[in-house]
Subunit: 287 residues, 2 copies
């Protein structure tokens, strides 16, 4: 079902990401009816005010009833309760997806609760900002960002296509990955870097911080992220993060050896390889 | 001696930093005569062309003769040879300083060669860019950046004041530090972060890199720095970098324990402390 044909959908959790998804859908289909579900009246009212949702619900049951699409956008820890709650009232045509930052545990529990042949397919739209809440929602938050869709061997191909199409219609670059491969990848390119940024931020003494410059600011920017959200992300992806920490630590100890013995050419080879990889793979980010 | 009274000075090494110092001095004292020293004709000609120097010299002797101020701005590895070379022709009134990124070894060898009562005082203007060479020199490169001046117990107070005043007149925020304390501080806020950025850049597999986002780009930006320059920086500050690596590794292993046992409140305390520290100490860098 394309966005243009959607009649009613439900967004559970109307924070920055849930609100931005609502706004982005409205831009493409102004007639769609969006039911928002939240735990706090203030967030729901803010989401109504910015136009991200049309109905505000503290109870998910009436919000989900009759919807063609249900998007879980709360913290990952609340998914299971919502899935159990909405299962009896899900429309047979409905697709259920999510925006969670980790996927193996989420997909596993969704398949256990809703069944292995659908209607759930996991998604991870990799968009966000340092801000929280629907007041910061933007219709273009998702545009040009990457969304990872994580089917399992049980997910019906038509359902996968539907999820891919949905995120593409919102302007996202969609990549498919196995849920476990997804978790290893985000542990390496997102969760580990977040942890390293925090550790780096805590290392200098006060007098040392006064002489930090732009490089240190860039290197520690991720540490400004929301602690509760990141705590939950880390706890739901522990195994993959531990593996990433161990791989990183091994390379750090190897580099330590090069420094200790003063291996000039080994150090230069490492620095050159890293520079080449960054210049080639992440171009246009040098300034 | 204030900038306005300077009649002749010598910049040895007319790269980005040396060239930018020349341009910044010219803005404040258009009548000053700046002698530039380099090993390659092309760099010297480029420095002449952009107006960073008035004379180009492959030989340091005539360049330094009669100068009130000599600034070493080559890679740190070349300092000793230049200091030995210029010692016989240094004016009795001259101050010699440098722009090297590490200080204990530099200051020690300068005091050994030029004497412990002066004329050398170490400096580390913390300015730069990803670009190399005098073509990228800018009169405002130093403005508002921090410069660390590193006297020893032998440095005459009048000489320290003269160095502090010089960098302040170029618009820099000047901090005084003992050379060893300087090296520990830059190991922590600059050299270690550089190494971590490189290691992080090398960690992901190819498929994993395709889903990296803005946070990863920020965290790895330092890896784009010039490999030869950073190799020399690392080699001249090995002891302090090893200490910083060990302190960082200890905190990484502590965090690993928290993740392994799933200590939610411990993880949240760490994330909150890092966020608070960054928001308070490096404000205005969240976007």
């Amino acid at each position: 079902m394309s966005l243009g044909k959607l009649q009613r959908l439900t967004i559970i959790g109307v924070g920055l990401l849930g609100g931005s998804i609502g706004l982005a859908i409205k831009v493409r289909n102004p007639r769609v009816r969006i039911a928002g579900v939240g735990r706090r009246r203030e967030s729901l009212e803010e989401a109504l005010k910015v136009g991200a949702i049309d109905e505000a619900h503290l109870d998910a049951i009436p919000a989900v009833t009759g919807s063609d699409l249900v998007i879980l956008a709360t913290p990952v820890g609340a998914f299971e309760d919502y899935l159990r709650l909405i299962r009896p009232v899900l429309s047979p045509k409905a697709m259920v997806t999510d925006v969670g930052s980790t996927k193996a545990a989420v997909v596993h529990s969704a398949e256990r609760i809703l069944g292995k042949g659908g209607p759930f397919v996991g998604s991870h739209p990799m968009a966000g900002s340092e801000h929280k809440g629907p007041a910061y929602a933007r219709a273009d938050l998702l545009a040009s960002a990457t969304c990872i869709v994580t089917p399992t061997r049980f997910t019906p191909p038509a359902l996968v296509r539907r999820a891919v199409r949905f995120w593409r219609e919102l302007g996202m670059h969609v990549v498919r990955m196995d849920p476990a491969a997804h978790d290893r990848a985000v542990a390496t390119v997102s969760h580990l870097p977040h942890v390293l940024a925090g550790l780096l931020m805590m290392l200098p003494g006060k007098g040392q911080l006064t002489i930090s410059s732009g490089g240190f600011r860039d290197a520690t920017r991720m540490a400004a992220g929301d602690p509760e959200m990141w705590r939950d992300i880390i706890l739901t992806n522990r195994r993959a993060i531990l593996d990433a920490v161990d791989a990183f630590d091994e390379s750090l100890m190897h580099l330590r050896d090069l420094v200790q013995i003063g291996d000039a050419s080994g150090i230069e080879r490492f620095l050159t390889a890293a520079k080449n990889r960054r210049d080639r793979r992440l171009p246009g980010n040098r300034a």
